[in-house]
């Protein structure tokens, strides 16, 4: 995997065990909680992870978000792929084939 992590359209991303989203009521935002890490999520990050269920293929996540935010799918695909591959590299997300 060291030659750059890839995330094909048919792969189904899923949060690894011990990694979960959490509504931070004190600060008023979503956070991603993981071993020794708490990462504040913006709206789009939270929306991507809400669709990241290990069932839905990446391509379909992109379509859903593009419809929801009325944004061009290519743009969403680039952002979501960057976001999720970074989490794969950090051992927080896994892409099921």
């Amino acid at each position: 995997m060291s030659a750059g992590t890839t995330l094909p359209d048919q792969a189904r991303p899923v949060l690894l065990r011990g990694v979960r989203t959490h509504w931070d009521a004190v600060r008023g935002n979503w956070v991603l909680l993981a071993p020794e890490r708490a990462i504040a999520l913006d709206e789009i990050g939270a929306a991507i992870l809400a669709e990241t269920d290990g069932e839905t293929p990446f391509g379909e996540i992109v379509e859903r978000l593009a419809a929801k935010y009325k944004a061009p799918p290519e743009q969403i695909a680039t952002d979501a792929r960057r976001f999720l591959t970074a989490l794969i590299d950090r051992r927080m997300v896994e892409a099921l084939p």
Binding site: S2, P35, A38, R91
Partner: protein, 370 residues
Amino acid sequence: MSDPGTTGAPANPKPPMALLAELTYRCPLACPYCSNPTEMTGRKAELTVEQWADVFGQAAALGVLQVHISGGEPASRRDLEEITQAAVEAGLYTNLITSGVGLTAKRLKALDAAGLDHVQLSIQGVDAAAADEIGNYRGGFERKMAVAGWVREIGFPLTLNAVMHRRNLDRLEETIALAVELGARRLEVACVQFHGWATLNRGGLMPTREQAVRARDTVAAARERLRGVLVIDFVPPDYYARYPKACMGGWGSVGLNVTPDGQVLPCHAAASIEGMSFERVQDRGLKEIWRDSAAFNAFRGDAWMQEPCRSCERKTLDRGGCRCQAMAIAGDAAATDPTCSKSPHNAALRAAAEADAVSGAALIYRESPA
């Protein structure tokens, strides 16, 4: 009182993210670099399950997201499972920081049922001879390997924590390989920080400059090679760095520590600062302690800083380094961290480190309280 260009402690500091809950100072191991204070309270003074449950509830309301359940060895408490469950019920993300000794397959299953999120297992060396010399506990290494197996069976995410020093830095590659073999997601390569018991063992543990340089290169290469397999966090040996490491995101900024007997500290080593007193959860609310106590406000903002930090452009990055190290070496907790090349104490510190690195000093082991 404050100069133009400096700020005092804010009236309403941002809420903390993390709580270090030291359940007990008792531990079957005797690592000579233990960060616990050299004077420790025993079992009789430890907070009860109910008191911890109350602390966790207050912490969550204050904004804490994660709790690090630590010690000493937290498994030395038979009610660890109940305490963990209380943290889960408060809505906190739970990390168990353990040496593994005292854990069994049964206890780990109970921790799983309680809702534990993550296990951080320390290793003292890559084989029994090396590990048990440091832990001074025969059979410790074997037990850790068994614990890693049970952790994997249950499916907990695993972090391996390896404290590195002169005696084991040359085996860093093997340490990384062991983390991969045990299925860890994360490895912390933490070069020993000279707090607590480690201050008594500078001669026994100080790495050489060459080891420090090599460790940095080894970690960089392994990170590249193991991307997507193993995440490596690296704490370099700061005695050979040009600038100090940043103080945990800032004193009174990110985390707080509750000791076995209920004292609330800005960091685990803060008890080493002479003249600083700490409030207890039995006497005052966690929120009030976080916001108002003298200990937490002592090094918030930057009006407390002295030269050269006060006018240094890096002061927002490293916040003047470690207060505990300033206390230990410069004799003044508000001084520039002596590991900074701009500190007037730096030349002496480096010379002492280089002398320590070639000294053959024997290890002084940590003692466990009753």
